[in-house]
Symmetry: C2
Subunit: 549 residues, 2 copies
C-alpha cells in the first residue's frame, strides 16, 4: 500500500481554499500511484476553529466540503479530519472525527477519545470523547487510526482514564496512523518524537503521523510529520514550517520503503533557530490569512524593535516594512543612529516623526490638572502613548498592521505602557524572553551584521526619562528570566524558587509584579506562541485576585 502524507497549511473557516488544497493533493498523489492520502486533524475547517464550532451552519459546511473531497476519491482513498455531529443522544453536540473515504464515499468514521483541555486547548468545550474503537480494513492492511492526543496518554502519568490503542490492538491492526494538529513550542519536537516512538515500539506497529503546518493567529503549527517502523525507529521526518507531501510504501511484512532522501535530522535544530523559523511563519501567515501585506512598527534603536523589524523584513520582504523612528527629548543620539543603521542594513522603508510637539501639547493641555506635580509615570506614559497614536494613524492612513515589539520578560512584569508600546495587531516576540531576544539578534546576524552591534551590546533602556536603564526598576534579565521560567513555565511557588537558590526579596518582587500585571496582559495583542507556556489563551488568570499579589 502506497501512502501519501499531506502536510498542509489550512486557513480556519476558509472552506474554499482548504478543500481546493485537499483535492489538489489527492490529484498529485494519484499521479504518484498512491493508494491512500492522509490529511491532518480537523483539516477540513482548520484548527482551532474555536467557537465557530458552535454554529450548526459551520458544521454543515464541514460536511459539504468532506463530500466534495469524497467525490475526488474514486480510485484513491483518503483520511481527513473534521468536526461531526455526535450521534448519541447524550453528551456534547460534536465529535472530533476522521473520515476514511474510498470509492467516492465516506466508508468509516473514527472519533477522538482523548480531548486535550489544558494550556491552549479547549477540545472538551466542543467535543464528546469517543468510547468505541474500530480499525479500518483497506488493501489487505488493518489500520488503527487515532487522532492526535489519542496517543498521548503516557503510562507513567496518565492524564486520561482510557487509552484507545489498548482497545484497538486487540483487533490486530497492521499499521497505526495518527492525524494531528500539534502546535509548535521550541521543545515540542523532541517530546513528540519520544511519545510516537514509544507507541510504535509498545504496540509493535509501524506508525504514520501527519501534522498541520502554518500559523493560526497565535498558534504556529510546525508540521514535522513522521514515520516510525514497528521497532519504534524514526525512519523519516518531513520538513518543519512548510507544506510538503511525501510517499511511503507499507509492505506486507510491515516494513516501509520510500524513494526520497530521508529527512531525519542528524541533530535537532537549536531552540533559537526553531523560534526564528516559527516567528517567520507566524508573521507571514498572520498577514497572508488576514489579507494584509504591509507592516509598520516603531523603531527605537533598542534590541526588541530591531529584532522584530528584521524578522518582519525577512517574513514580508523589506519593501513591505515601514519602520517609524519616533524620537523624544530623552532619546539618545546613538539610538537614532542605531535605528537608521538597521533600516539601511535591511533596506526597509522608514519615516522619522519627532514626538516632542505632541507630548508638549499633552502636558500643556493637562497643566491645569497636573499643576506643578513632579514628573512621573504619567509623563513617561504620555510619550509611549503618543508614539502609539502616531503609529496607529500611519496604519489607518496607509493600511499597515502595527507589529508589537514587547518581549516576554517585559510582558511578564508589566514593564510596558498599555495603549502605548503594548499596542499592535500581533505580538511578534511576546513569547521570547529578553535573554532569548539577544540570542535571536545574534542568530539573525549569523552571516552578516544586520542588527547593529551597538544595539546588542548597550544596556537596555526605555528612554522615557534621562539616563533611564531597565535595571533601575528590574533585576538583571538573566536572573529575571530564570525566575520567570520557573514561575510561568514550571508553575513553581515562590518558596520553591527561593529554595533553588534565588534571592528571596527578588523572587517575591518578581512574582508580585507578574500577578499585578494581569490587567495589562489582558488587553495586549495575540502573541505568537513559541514556548510551552505563552501569555494569552494558554494562560488564564483572574485579574482581580489576591494570591501572590
Amino acid at each position: 500500500m502506497k501512502i501519501a502524507l499531506a502536510q498542509l497549511n489550512y486557513h480556519i473557516g476558509n472552506f474554499e481554499s482548504n478543500t481546493a488544497k485537499a483535492i489538489d493533493a489527492i490529484k498529485k498523489a494519484r499521479t504518484e500511484g498512491a493508494d491512500l492520502v492522509v490529511f491532518a486533524e480537523l483539516s477540513v475547517c482548520g484548527y482551532p476553529a474555536r467557537d465557530f464550532l458552535e454554529f450548526k451552519e459551520f458544521i454543515g459546511l464541514c460536511e459539504e466540503a468532506a463530500q466534495k473531497i469524497a467525490q475526488e476519491c474514486t480510485d484513491i482513498a483518503c483520511i481527513i479530519g473534521l468536526p461531526t455531529e455526535n450521534n448519541k443522544p447524550e453528551g456534547k453536540d460534536l465529535n472530533n472525527s476522521a473520515y476514511f473515504i474510498s470509492n467516492g464515499k465516506v466508508q468509516q468514521r473514527v472519533d477522538k477519545a482523548l480531548l486535550p483541555n489544558y494550556d491552549v486547548f479547549d477540545e472538551y468545550r466542543y467535543f464528546e470523547p469517543s468510547t468505541e474503537f474500530n480499525c479500518i480494513d483497506f488493501k489487505g492492511h488493518r489500520i488503527a487510526l487515532t487522532i492526535c492526543e489519542d496517543l498521548w496518554n503516557t503510562i507513567e502519568n496518565p492524564l486520561y482514564i482510557t487509552r484507545p490503542m489498548d482497545t484497538l490492538i486487540k483487533q490486530q491492526p497492521t499499521v497505526m496512523i495518527n492525524i494531528a494538529a500539534s502546535p509548535f513550542a521550541y521543545n515540542h519536537d523532541e517530546e513528540r518524537i519520544a511519545i510516537l516512538k514509544d507507541n510504535a515500539a509498545r504496540y509493535n506497529l509501524p506508525l504514520f503521523y501527519v501534522n498541520q503546518v502554518g500559523a493560526q493567529t497565535e498558534l504556529i503549527f510546525d508540521g514535522g510529520s513522521m514515520v516510525f517502523d514497528n521497532a519504534g525507529n524514526l525512519i523519516d521526518e518531513m520538513p518543519y514550517f512548510e507544506e510538503s507531501i511525501a510517499y511511503y510504501t507499507l509492505n506486507d511484512d510491515a516494513s516501509i520503503t520510500f524513494t526520497h532522501q530521508s529527512g531525519i535530522r542528524a541533530e535537532r535544530e537549536s531552540d533559537i533557530a526553531q523560534i526564528h523559523q516559527g516567528l517567520l511563519l507566524g508573521i507571514r501567515d498572520y498577514f497572508y490569512k488576514s489579507g494584509f501585506t504591509r507592516a509598520t512598527l516603531g523603531l527605537s534603536g533598542g534590541i526588541d524593535s530591531a529584532v522584530v523589524c528584521a524578522l518582519a523584513a525577512e517574513a514580508l520582504g523589506p519593501e513591505n516594512v515601514m519602520a517609524v523612528l519616533l524620537p523624544s527629548k530623552y532619546s539618545t543620539d546613538h539610538s537614532l543612529k542605531d535605528a537608521e543603521d538597521l533600516v539601511n542594513a535591511l533596506g526597509c522603508k522608514s519615516e522619522t516623526i519627532a514626538i516632542k510637539d505632541v507630548t508638549d501639547a499633552f502636558e500643556t493641555a493637562l497643566s491645569p490638572q497636573f499643576k506643578n506635580l513632579p514628573f512621573n509615570i504619567a509623563e513617561e506614559n504620555i510619550q509611549s502613548r503618543s508614539r502609539a497614536v502616531l503609529l496607529m494613524a500611519m496604519c489607518n492612513k496607509f493600511g499597515y498592521i502595527l507589529l508589537n515589539t514587547s518581549n516576554k520578560s517585559e510582558a511578564a512584569v508589566g514593564y510596558g505602557t498599555l495603549y502605548g508600546d503594548m499596542c499592535g495587531g500581533i505580538s511578534v516576540i511576546g513569547d521570547v524572553y529578553k535573554s532569548q531576544v539577544f540570542q535571536l539578534a545574534r542568530y539573525i546576524n549569523r552571516e552578516r551584521e544586520i542588527i547593529p552591534e551597538n544595539t546588542i551590546i548597550k544596556p537596555p533602556s526605555a528612554e522615557l526619562r534621562p539616563d533611564q536603564k531597565d535595571t533601575d526598576s528590574l533585576p538583571e534579565y538573566d536572573v529575571l528570566d530564570k525566575i520567570l521560567v520557573e514561575y510561568l513555565e514550571n508553575r513553581r511557588s515562590s518558596s520553591e524558587i527561593i529554595q533553588m537558590g534565588f534571592d528571596e526579596a527578588t523572587v517575591r518582587r518578581v512574582i508580585k509584579l507578574v500577578n499585578t500585571a494581569e490587567h495589562k496582559r489582558y488587553q495586549t495583542p495575540p502573541i505568537l506562541r513559541v514556548s510551552p507556556k505563552a501569555f494569552g489563551m494558554g494562560r488564564r488568570m483572574p485579574i482581580v485576585g489576591k494570591y501572590l499579589s
Copy 2:
C-alpha cells in the same frame, strides 16, 4: 436539624479574608443554634480561580484554610467547597470538591461529577469528574450533596452521560444540598429555579441551594440561594446581589420551617432592574477587590458615558467619580451642556480638557507623511486616541481606574477606536446592547431626572466629524440589536436570520462586521457579564479566520 445557608462574597485567592468570613459565619450560626452551615462551591478560594489551580502551593493553601475552618467546627458541622488532589492515579490532578466537616475534622469528601466546560466555564481544564457517589449521614438525616452543575443534566437534552442524583437516590437520602457558583445573567434566575424545582420534585426531596454572591472581574455572582420542599415548591429565596445568612429547620417529616419572612418574589425583577443591580455590584467589587476607590471616565454628553457615569456614582459614591469632558472641534454645544447637566445632577467631580491643541499637534507631526490626503478614519481615530491618552494620564497621575463606556452593539460591530474609546480597566456596559442602554437610562431616571432627557432623545453620534450620526454607518439600533441577539446569543446563521424576515443585505453586513472586529475585541478590557453570551472569556473566536468575514 437546623441548617444555615451562608451566601457570601469571596475574593479569589484571598485566603485570609475568605477564611475569616467562613469562621465568622460559623460563629454566628452557632449562636443561632444551627447544626450545619453550608457554604458555596469553591468558597475557600473563590470562583473562578482559573490557572491559580495549576499551582500546588495554591491547592495547599486551600487545604490549610479548610483545616483552619475545621477547627472551628467542634459543636457545629459545615460544608465547604474547595479544590482537592485527585486520589486516583489517572486523570486530571484535581477534583472540585466539598468537605463535610464535623467534630473539628473533615469527615467526608464529595467530588463534582458534571464539569461545565462551555461559555465562561473551563472546569474540565482542571478537574477530573467524580464517578463515585455517597450520601452523608448527619443528625438522623441522610444528605445527598451535589455541586452546582451536578443537578443540571436535563432529561430532555442531556449534556453529560451521567446523572449523580440517579445514583444517590438509591441510597435513600432524606434531603438534597447543592452548593454552587452560578454566575448572573439577566435570564438565569428563572432557569435556575426551573431546574432546581424539577430536581426536588423528581427525587421527591427537599432541596437547599447555596450560591456565591459578588463579582470576580467580569463574572457577577448574584446569590439568590433557594430552598424547595419535596414537592418542588420554592419555599424561600435569599436576597440577590448581597451577602446573607438564613436559617431553616429541616423536620423529620421532610418539612421545612423558618422564622424569617419568606423572600420569594411575587414577580421576577425586570431584566433591566437586574442588570442595573448586577452592574453596581460588578463595579463595586472590581474596585474594592483591586484595592482602588476612584474612577474616571470621558463624558461626551452621549448616552453611553452618561449611563456609566451614573452607575459609577451610585456604586462608588459621586465623590469618587471624576468625569472628564474632552470636547473637540466637532463636539456640539449641546453635548457639552448635557455632560455638565449630568455632572451637576450626580454631584460628581469633573474637569474639562479641550483636545484641539493635541489633535492639531498630531496632524502637524504627521503632515510630512499624510501630505494632503483627505480627512478619514485616521484623523477620526486621532481624536478618540488623544482622549484616551489624556484619561490615562489622569489615571497615572491621580490613581483613578478608567471606566470603559462602549456598549455591546458597538463592540459587536467594531464601531469604536482601539486604544481610543475602547480603553479602560473594566467595561461597564460592554454586555448591554444599545437599546438596553436606553432602557437603563430610563430606569436610572425612574425617580428623578439624573441623565438629561436630551442625552436620551438625541440621535447617537460619535462626533468625530461634522454632523456624524451612528446611523451613517450602522443600521438603526433596534434592528441591529435584534440581529446581534440572533447571531451572538442564539448562534443562528445568516440564512436563518434572513429567513426570520430581516433584510438580507443588512444581515450579511452586520455579521461580517462582527467577524472582522475580533482583533479589536481581543484587546478590550474585561466586560461585566450580564447576558448569557458576553464578549470575553465566554466567546472564543479565531482572529485570523475566514468564515463569514
